[in-house]
Amino acid sequence: MGGKDNVSRQFSYPLKTTHRPLPICKTLKKKSKIATKSVTFTKQQYTKMPTETPRKQFQSPKKPKQSPNNVKSQSSTPSIHLSPQTPQVPLRRSSRRSLQPFTSKTVDEMLDLSTPRKALEDLDGIGKCSGNNRKGSSVRTPRAPKCKFNEEDREIPEMGKVGEGNGVVEDAFCPVSPEALESKKTKKGLSEEGSVKMGKSPKCKLNEDLGKLGEGNGDVVLPEKRKKGLRNEESVKTRKSLRCKLSEEEREIPDLGKLGEATFFAVSPQALESKKRKKGEEKRAVTRAMATRSLKKVNKEEKKGRKRVYYKKVVYDGGEFEVGDDVYVKRREDASSDDEVPEMEECRVCFKVGRGVMIECDDCLGGFHLKCLTPPLKEVPDGDWVCGFCQARKLGKDVEFPKPPEGKKRVRTLREKLLASDLWAARIESLWKEVDGGYWFRGRWYIIPEETASGRQPHNLKRELYRANDFADIEMESIIRHCNVMSPKEYAKANDQGDDVFLCEYEYDIQWHSFKRLAEIDNDEDGECANGDEDWNSCKEDDSDTDEDMEYEEENERNVHARPSTTHQLAANSRKGRFFGIQKVGTKMIPEHVRCHKQTELERAKATLLLATLPKSLPCRNKEMEEITTFVKGAICDDQCLGRCLYIHGVPGTGKTMSVLAVMRNIKSEVDAGRIRPYCFVEVNGLKLAAPENIYTVIYEALTGHRVSWKKALQLLNERFSDGKKISKGDDRPCILLIDELDLLVTRNQSVLYNILDWPTKPHSKLIVIGIANTMDLPEKLLPRISSRMGIQRLCFGPYNYQQLQEIISSRLKGIDAFEKQAVEFASRKVAAISGDARRALEICRRAAEIADYNMKNQISSVNSSRVKDVVTMADVDAAIQEMFQAPHVQVMKSCSKLSKIFLTAMVYELYKTGMGETTFEKLAMTFSCLCTSNGEAFPGWDTLLKVGCKLGECRIILCEAGDRHMVQKLQLNFPSDDVAFALKDSKDLPWLAKYL
C-alpha cells in the first residue's frame, strides 16, 4: 500500500481548482459540478478569484519590466502606461513567471486565513519539501541543451518530432494532503472522505454553517479515479511543469524566472495537425465537429477503465490557465519567427526597444517613442492619436515607414501576428488531462474580422476579435501565453494594459456567417447570480461517476448541436428545454450605425430613461426594500420558515417587482459571498400563464427542470411540500416563490391560491411565498381560509410623490446634461398628480427628449436654423404630457366633416332640451332637420344621416347601437358636452353652431 501511495503521490497533479462562476448554461452546469466536487474554498477565493486574481495575473505580464525582481514597484509605476493602446512591453514567459508572487499573494492570504487544520499543515509540509526538490531539479533542467530528448519523449514518437527540443523539463512534484491521497485509493473512499466532498464532510458542514466554505483545501489535487501506468506518469513528469501553488513554492519562482529564459515552446504535432485541419476547413465546421466527436468515441471505448479528469485551473509550463482564460495559440510549426517572441515592441522609428514611453497610433497600431516623434511629445495626448505616417497616408501621400537598420529584422509582436492571422486566439472552455496524461483544453476560437464572411469593415476596430461558435480540442502545448480579450466596457477602461488587449463584442456564427452581440455583456451579474445556486447544487453532488458520464453526454450533445442538423429539424417554438435553430438569428454584418454613431446628450438621456435600462440605484424605495430583505432573510435563516407569506400591493408602476428583484439580487450576492445559505428562487407571473393551473407546471419546471402536466406537477409539488418528500438533493433548500399579478390566479373555487398558500404552513415545506398584486384588499376578497394564510404580513407601495419621481428621473439622468431642471419637476408633478406611476414619468421624459431631438434634427436639416438647442425644455415636456394625457377627440371633432359637426351639435342640443343623456336616432334626426331648415342647410336624408352617426360611433365620439336598428338606434355622447361645445364653438364653416351649444 505504501508503494501505491507513492505512485499516486507522484502522480497527483497539484492542480489548482478554483471556484469560478460560469455563465448559466445547461451544458456547463455539469462541468462545474465535476470541477468543484472535490474542492473546498476559502471565502477569499470564492469572491476574489473569479474577478480579481485572473486580471491581476493577466495584466501584470504586459507591464513593462526592468528587472524581474522588483515586481511590485513595477506594476505600481503609473507613468509607463499611457495612451489606451500604448503598446507595452510584452514579457517573455520568463519574466512573467517572475510575477508569480503577485498571484500567489492571494494564495498566501488564503492560507493565512484558513483555519489551521492538520491536513493543511501536512499539506504545507509537503509543499516545502517538494519545493526543495523542485529547486534542485529546476536548476538542472534549463541547462539541458535544447535537443536533449528524454527517454519518455522517445517513447511517444510523435512528441519526439517536436523538433527544436523545446520540451521544458521541470519537475513535477505534488504535495498531496493525506485526505486526498486516501480518497484516491477507492472511489468509495472518495465519496465518503470528508475534505473532498463538500456537503458530506462534517468539517465542511461546520464551515458551511459558519458561512465559510472549507478553507485551505483549494489546492488539493483532484483525485484520480484509476491508477495509471507508470509510463504516462513519467512522461508527464518530465514534460510538464506542474506546480502546486503553495506559498513555499512560490517563493522560489523569481529564481526560476531567470532560468526560464532558456525555455521554448513545445509544439505537439497533434495540435498542429488539428490546426492545419482547421486552416483547410475554415469554412466547414461540420467536419471539424465530426473529428472532435470521433476522438470522443475513442475515449468512450476507453472509458471503462480510464477517464479524463477535468480541471478548473491548470498550472502548465509556468503559466496558470483557467477555464475562461484567453490564450494565444500557435498556428504553424515552421514559422521561424515563432521562436523569437519579441520581448517588447520596437519603436517604428528608431527600431529599439528602449525604456522610453511609447505611444500607439490608433490607426496602424504602431508604437512610437515619444522622443522619436517629430516634433517630440512630452506627454501622451488625450483622445485619439494618429501617427504622422498615417496622417500623411490619409491625405493621399505615399509614405514609407523608416526601414529597419541593416541586419535587423523588425520583429513582430504576438498581437501583430494574431491580427495578421499567423496566430490564433482561443478561449479556454474546459481543461482536462487525457488518459495518456497529455493536457488538453477545449478552445473556443476567436477570429479576426478578415476571417469572417463579410470581411473587415471600415467601422471595425483595429483590435477587434469575434468569438466564434467553433470549438476545438487543443493540446496545451500549443498555448503561447495569455492574451486579454475584453468586453467593450472593460476595453474602454483598459488604458494601460499593454499590447495583448483585444476587444470582443460579438459572437460570430461560422455556419450562418452572422454576428450577434455577446449576451454576457449585458447580463453579467445575472449570470453570476444564477450560478451561485448551481455551484451549491454541485457541491452536494456525490455520485461522481454519473457526473462524468453526464459530462460526456453533454459534450456529445453539444457537438450534435453544433453540427447543422442533418437528421431531423426540430421546430423552433416547441420548447423542449431549448429553442432550436435560434442561433440562426444574427446580422450578416455589424451595422455601421452601431459603431460610427456618437451619442448626443439627448440620445444618451433617451437611452437611460428607457424602461428596460436597469438603473444603477433604486432610489425612494429603501424602506420597502429593507422590509423585504428582512422578511426574506428571516425566512431563509429560520429553519422551519413556517407560513411565511408576504403580500405586496400597490398601483402599477410603483416599483413592486423591481424592488423584490433587487432584493433578491442583493441576497444572491450575499449567498455567493457565502454569508447566507443558498436557496432557490422561482418567479411566476400570473398574467403570463395561459391558465391559473399552469402555475404548478411552471413551478415544478423551475425547481426540477422537468416539464409535466399541471395535475402531475401538483401531485409532485404536494409530495414535496406537504409530505416533505425530497426527490433530489437540492430539495432541502428553502424556496422563495415570487408570484407577480397574484390576482390572476383567482379561480372560481380559489383552489390554486389555496394550494400555493397552504404549502408554507406545512412543517417541512421551506416555502416562502411573495405575492404581488395591485389591489389592497385582495386577501379580503378571497375566501377566509385563504386570507388567513396570506393577509398577515403586508407591504404597501404607495404611489410616488413628485419629489420621489423627480429623484428617480434625476438619478437616471445623472451626468447627462439634457434636461432643464424645471422640465423634470414639471413632468414629475404632473404624473404625481395623476397616478404616481414611475413608468409614466420616465416615459414622459423620454418622449420629451424624443420631441426635442426630433425638433433639433429638423432644425439642423432646414437651413434657417437660428438656434440649435439640445436641452429638453418645458415646452417639450408639455407637448409630451399633452400627447399622453389628452384624449384626441377634441382635435378629431374640430376636423371632422360638416354633417358630423351638425350631428354633434344636434346631440348636445337634444341633451340640453331633454336633460337625458340617451336619445334615439329618430328624435335626433328631427332635431337635425330643424337645425338644418332654420339655418339654411340642406337636409341630407335619413340614410346619409345614419351613416354620419355610425362614423362618429366608430371613433367612439358617440356611443351608438348597430346601424341596422335605424330609427330605434340609441345614441349617447361619449365625451362631456362641454368638450363638443369647446371644439365646435368657433368652427369657421358653420358659425351658427355656436347658437345651439
Binding site: R517, A571, A572, N573, L689, A690, R839, E850, S897, K947
Partner: protein, 421 residues
C-alpha cells in the same frame, strides 16, 4: 376613324394611369409626407430611432377610418426596410383575426419563424410560444435587429385579460431588445380600454391622423388627377388634359360638388374612392374629365336605400306601412301585427277597397317587411314569442313614405289620401 381610335387608345392609357395611381397608397400619401409636421416623418423618426438607438417603443396610430393610418405606416415601413435591410422584421397581426391571445401568440411565433427561416410547430402551447417570443426578442436585440409588431384593429386586442399585450409590453420593459409595438385603431378611446397594468407599461405615444384641410384637398386632387408631362403620353395631350382639369377645378360648381360629397365624410380614403368612380366615368372618345363625370359619381353615391326598398314592395305591404303610419299619427307608440291588422280592417271597412287579403297573407307581407328592414322589432326581448305578437316599429319617416308612395307606379290613390288624413 383611325384617328379617333388612336385618341381612344390614348385616353384609355391616361385612364389606366389615373386608376393605378388612385389604387396605389404610396402615390397618394407620398406628397403629404414631406413636411416635418406630417405623421409620416414623426412615425419614421420614432421607428428609426428604435433601430439606430436600440430602444423599445410603443405607439398608437389613431384616426377615423380612411384617414390613412395603415397606408402611412406601410410607407414608413417600406422606406425603412430599404434603408436598413436585414435589420427589421415586421410582424403583422389583425385584431379581427387574432384577438384571441393564444392564436395571436401562435401567429407571432409563426411569422418570427418565417422571418428567420426556422421550423414552426403548430402544436406548441401558449407558454412555449410566449417564451419563444421573448427569446427571439432577446436574440434579435443582440443581433441589432428590430422587430416591429403591427397590431391592426388594436381595440380588439384590448379585450379580456390582454395577455398578449401584457407579455409583449412587459418583455419590452425587461428585455434588452429593440422592438416597436404599433397599435392601429379608429377608436379614439382605445388607451382607456387597456387594463391598468398594461396601460402602465404602454408608452402612450399617440399619432393622430386627421382629415386634410380644404386647401390640401384641392391640391391633393390636382396632384392625383393631372397627367405627368414627361411620360409616354404625348405632350400636347397631357398639356390639354391638365389645362382642362385646372379649369374644372376652379369651377365653382365643381367645388360645390366636392363639398357636398365631403360634407358627410371628410377623409382621404373616402375622397379617393369618389375620384376613382368619377375617373371611371370618363368619356373615352372625349378623352378628358368633365364635370358630368363627377356629377354621375356623386349621384351614384347618394342613394336612398329605404326609398328603393319601397319601390319593390307589393301593394299589400304599402297598405300595411300606411296603417302603421296612421297608428303612429294616432300616437299609438307600439303596435304589433294584430294592431296593424285591426287598423287595416277598419280602413277596409270604411273605404271598401278592393285590396283585402286574409290574415295569413297579411302575415307573409308583414314578414317580408321585416326582412326588408322597413320595419323592425322595437326590442330584442321576447325572442320566444311568435312574430305577430312582438311590437314593431316603422323605420322610414312619413316624408319618405310619402315620397315612396308617389314614386310607386301602381299605387292606389286611396293610400296617398289615407296618408294625409
Amino acid at each position: 376613324m383611325g384617328r379617333e381610335k388612336e385618341k381612344e387608345k390614348l385616353s384609355e392609357k391616361a385612364l389606366n394611369l389615373l386608376r393605378s395611381r388612385l389604387s396605389d397608397p404610396n402615390f397618394i400619401f407620398r406628397p403629404l409626407s414631406d413636411s416635418p409636421d406630417s405623421n409620416y416623418s414623426k412615425l419614421k423618426f420614432i421607428i428609426s430611432t428604435s433601430v439606430t438607438e436600440a430602444c423599445n417603443n410603443s405607439i398608437l396610430l389613431l384616426g377615423p377610418r380612411g384617414s390613412g393610418k395603415v397606408a402611412v405606416l406601410e410607407l414608413v415601413l417600406s422606406d425603412l426596410l430599404q434603408q436598413y435591410p436585414e435589420a427589421i422584421s415586421v410582424i403583422r397581426l389583425n385584431g379581427l383575426l387574432h384577438s384571441d391571445d393564444n392564436c395571436a401568440l401562435k401567429e407571432i411565433a409563426r411569422q418570427l419563424c418565417m422571418e428567420h427561416q426556422l421550423l414552426f410547430s403548430k402544436v406548441a402551447s401558449f407558454d412555449d410560444n410566449s417564451q419563444f417570443m421573448i427569446a427571439m426578442l432577446r436574440e434579435c436585440g443582440l443581433a441589432h435587429k428590430t422587430i416591429i409588431f403591427v397590431l391592426d384593429e388594436f381595440d380588439f386586442f384590448a379585450q379580456g385579460k390582454q395577455r398578449l399585450l401584457y407579455s409583449l409590453l412587459d418583455a419590452m420593459q425587461s428585455v434588452n431588445s429593440q422592438a416597436v409595438v404599433i397599435g392601429v385603431s379608429c377608436r379614439l378611446d382605445v388607451d382607456q380600454l387597456l387594463e391598468k397594468r398594461v396601460r402602465s407599461r404602454f408608452s402612450h405615444r399617440k399619432l393622430l391622423f386627421l382629415s386634410p384641410s380644404k386647401e390640401d384637398t384641392e391640391r391633393f386632387i390636382e396632384h392625383i388627377l393631372s397627367l405627368p408631362m414627361d411620360s409616354s403620353l404625348p405632350h400636347n395631350y397631357a398639356a390639354e388634359f391638365n389645362g382642362r382639369l385646372k379649369k374644372l377645378l376652379s369651377d365653382e360648381r365643381f367645388k360645390e360638388l366636392i363639398d357636398t360629397y365631403l360634407s358627410f365624410n371628410f377623409t382621404i380614403g373616402h375622397l379617393v374612392r369618389f375620384l376613382f368612380q368619377a375617373v371611371s366615368y370618363m368619356d373615352l372618345s372625349a378623352g378628358f374629365l368633365s364635370l358630368g363625370n363627377f356629377k354621375t359619381a356623386l349621384s351614384s353615391n347618394q342613394r336612398q336605400p329605404k326609398l328603393e326598398c319601397i319601390r319593390d314592395c307589393s301593394v299589400l305591404e304599402l297598405y300595411m306601412m300606411v296603417c302603421m303610419k296612421r297608428l303612429e299619427v294616432k300616437e299609438q307608440a307600439s303596435y304589433n301585427f294584430y294592431s296593424v291588422m285591426t287598423e287595416y280592417k277598419s280602413i277596409h271597412d270604411s273605404f271598401q277597397t278592393s285590396d283585402y287579403y286574409a290574415a295569413n297573407v297579411c302575415l307573409r307581407a308583414f314578414e317580408h317587411l321585416l326582412q326588408c328592414q322597413l320595419i323592425s322589432f322595437i326590442d330584442n326581448k321576447g325572442h320566444n314569442q311568435s312574430v305577430e305578437f312582438r311590437p314593431v316599429k316603422l323605420l322610414i319617416s312619413s316624408a319618405e313614405l310619402h315620397q315612396g308612395l308617389k314614386s310607386y307606379q301602381q299605387c292606389p290613390a286611396i293610400l296617398l289620401k289615407l296618408m294625409d288624413r
